[in-house]
């Protein structure tokens, strides 16, 4: 983090040095300038008929930044942290309103930490596999990366994503309402390969996965999932995992709620029953209106959200806009996304951007001509099982107001005549 910030600062300084007051002024206004009409506040002008300053002199030296950073003009495209009580326990949200396509850049992947981000030395990291296995195993990172690997693109969504559904703020952007959601290409070793290597006892049915953070975060994973598509991941989007995503090793359970994808994975213990850890009893259970709670509700059901236009955006002029958003399902592929501009009275089918992969974000788009009328924008995902993303009220009817986690209701953005967009919750 410090390194990133430092290199960002250095490149910004270099930029300011090169372009003087012009760059400084524009960088300071950042996203706000991009959102509104660009105004040249300093001479010389770089728009026609002027020849831009950056065509008249050499740019920054080749390789000036050994690990590249975004343009200084994109400095507002950052995660937003929120903690409660202690600064090492909390979340940071992915800025979905600023992202395109389906891949989340590594530095913008959402975070949920229970005891901060440990600084794990990969040379001293070990994965222990034991319990109901024929041959307990201790693996180094060097051992793990020698196993046959796979790369797969999957989303991870916190089960508490959209936690503000029963008490949000109209000002909340899609980052705050849906930003505990990210999607990467993950590379690692199928867990089934390792379980085959250690040999399961007949009675094996659950696996405890435990992290090497100061929470020793632990969840019980059904064996069926472990043998299906679970991956021991060591890389994301082409490079080794970021510390915030579990460097050097994490568990990936495609489509399962985020916290089960144990980061900094150090131990897998095979058992014949769930281990009933704190995270799967007192936390991450869904309280129903009658006072009972659902436990082991692993799968993140089909959900979608419009990322443009969304709260905080401003439609400056009437005319053409492309509505765009994301749809995903923990049960498989997205089959269809419908979009409404009138609060769900009428729906149009959106175009789905390929690739459409299972348990992965799918980008949808729909052309829209806005003539200055008030609009209520909604999207509704349908996955390959035929499941239709429900309305908020349909969810509340079944689950009451205390369920908290796993809210996948339809999101509404309120577009006013002046072009401002807010969260309709």
């Amino acid at each position: 983090m410090d390194g990133e910030r430092k290199s960002d600062l250095q490149s910004r300084r270099r930029f300011v040095r090169l372009f003087g007051a012009v760059a400084g002024g524009l960088a300071a206004s950042g996203r706000a300038a991009a959102a509104k009409e660009p105004v040249a506040t300093h001479a010389p002008s770089n728009v026609p008929p002027s020849v831009p300053q950056w065509m008249k002199e050499q740019g920054a030296p080749v390789g000036a930044s050994a690990y590249g950073a975004p343009s200084p003009f994109e400095k507002n495209v950052v995660r937003l942290a929120r903690t409660a009580g202690l600064d090492t326990s909390g979340v940071s949200f992915t800025p979905l309103q600023h992202l395109t396509g389906i891949i989340t850049p590594n530095g913008l992947h959402f975070e949920r930490h229970h005891a901060g981000v440990p600084a794990v030395d990969p040379a001293q990291h070990r994965l222990m596999i034991h319990g109901l296995v024929k041959r307990p195993l201790l693996l180094t990172m060097d051992d793990i990366v020698r196993f046959p690997s796979v790369s797969r693109i999957h989303f991870i969504e916190c089960s508490g994503n959209t936690i503000g559904w029963n008490g949000g703020d109209p000002k909340w952007t899609v980052q705050e309402s849906h930003g505990l959601l990210s999607c990467c290409e993950w590379t690692g070793v199928p867990l089934a390969t390792i379980l085959d290597e250690v040999g399961l006892e007949k009675s094996a049915s659950w696996i405890l996965a435990e992290g090497a953070d100061a929470a020793g975060l632990a969840r019980s994973i059904p064996l069926e999932k472990a043998l299906d598509d679970a991956v021991l991941v060591y890389a994301q989007n082409g490079e080794r995992l970021r510390p915030e995503q579990g460097y050097p090793l994490r568990l990936l359970l495609p489509g399962f709620e985020g916290n089960t994808n144990i980061k900094w994975l150090r131990r897998l213990k095979v058992g014949d029953q769930p281990f009933e850890t704190r995270e799967e009893t007192s936390k991450y259970t869904d309280l129903m209106a009658d006072g009972t709670a659902r436990q082991f509700t692993f799968v993140m059901e089909a959900k979608s959200v419009i990322t443009f236009p969304s709260a905080g955006h401003l439609l400056k002029q009437k005319g053409f806009y492309e509505i765009s958003g994301l749809a995903w399902s923990g049960h498989g592929r997205i089959r269809r996304v419908d979009v409404s501009v009138d609060g769900g009275k009428t729906w149009r089918e959106a175009n789905l951007q390929t690739p459409i992969l299972p348990k992965c974000l799918t980008r949808f788009r729909l052309p829209w001509s806005w003539q200055g009328e008030p609009a209520l924008l909604q999207s509704r995902a349908v996955d390959e099982t035929g499941y239709v993303q429900p309305t908020r009220s349909a969810l509340v009817d079944v689950r009451g107001m205390n369920s908290g986690y796993h809210f996948n209701g339809i999101q509404t953005w309120n577009v006013k005549q002046d072009g401002t967009v807010s969260n309709a919750i």
């Binding site: 202690l86 222990m128 390969t193 009933e276 009972t292 059901e301």
Partner: protein, 185 residues
Amino acid sequence: MRFDFAALIVMTVGCWFGAYHADAADQPRRYGLGRAPTAAEIAAWDIDIRADGKGLPPGKGSVDEGAAIFGRSCVGCHGEGGQGGPMDRLVGGAGSLATAHPIRTVGSYWPYATTLYDYIRRAMPYDAPQSLSPNEVYAVVAYLLHLNGIVPAHAVLDAKALPQIVMPNRNGFITRDPRPDVTEK
């Protein structure tokens, strides 16, 4: 190195027919990477406690001892008597789960007392996880259960007594996922 009969058969049969599929021959039945952990290595890392108490270490702790440890190490986050501070409230909330303002505490919500031992041992106190001795963990567990009216003031907990405690919300969980529970047209 292990002698792999399957690979030998594949190679032998393959050679008989003059050619064999390289991938099949190159992929062993087992990869043979890593090593077996020693019993001591497993014991040191095997910290989880199962719901039925399997994994609980020797040792014991009393409510009074727990109160003293709580006052030193826990009260800053969880408040006097576990009533909540910057972090979770641990006490009370009985009868609140089906109301508009549910209060989820050790007493009102947690289904297993053994989970308390597991969690405190692995993650608490927040500024020094895995620093408490088994006796100290038993004591803090006893104190928290006493604050919730689950064990008496003179209680002393150990590996035998702790798993026998039946928590008030023991049967409050539905472990089979009932979803999809909402059907839209």
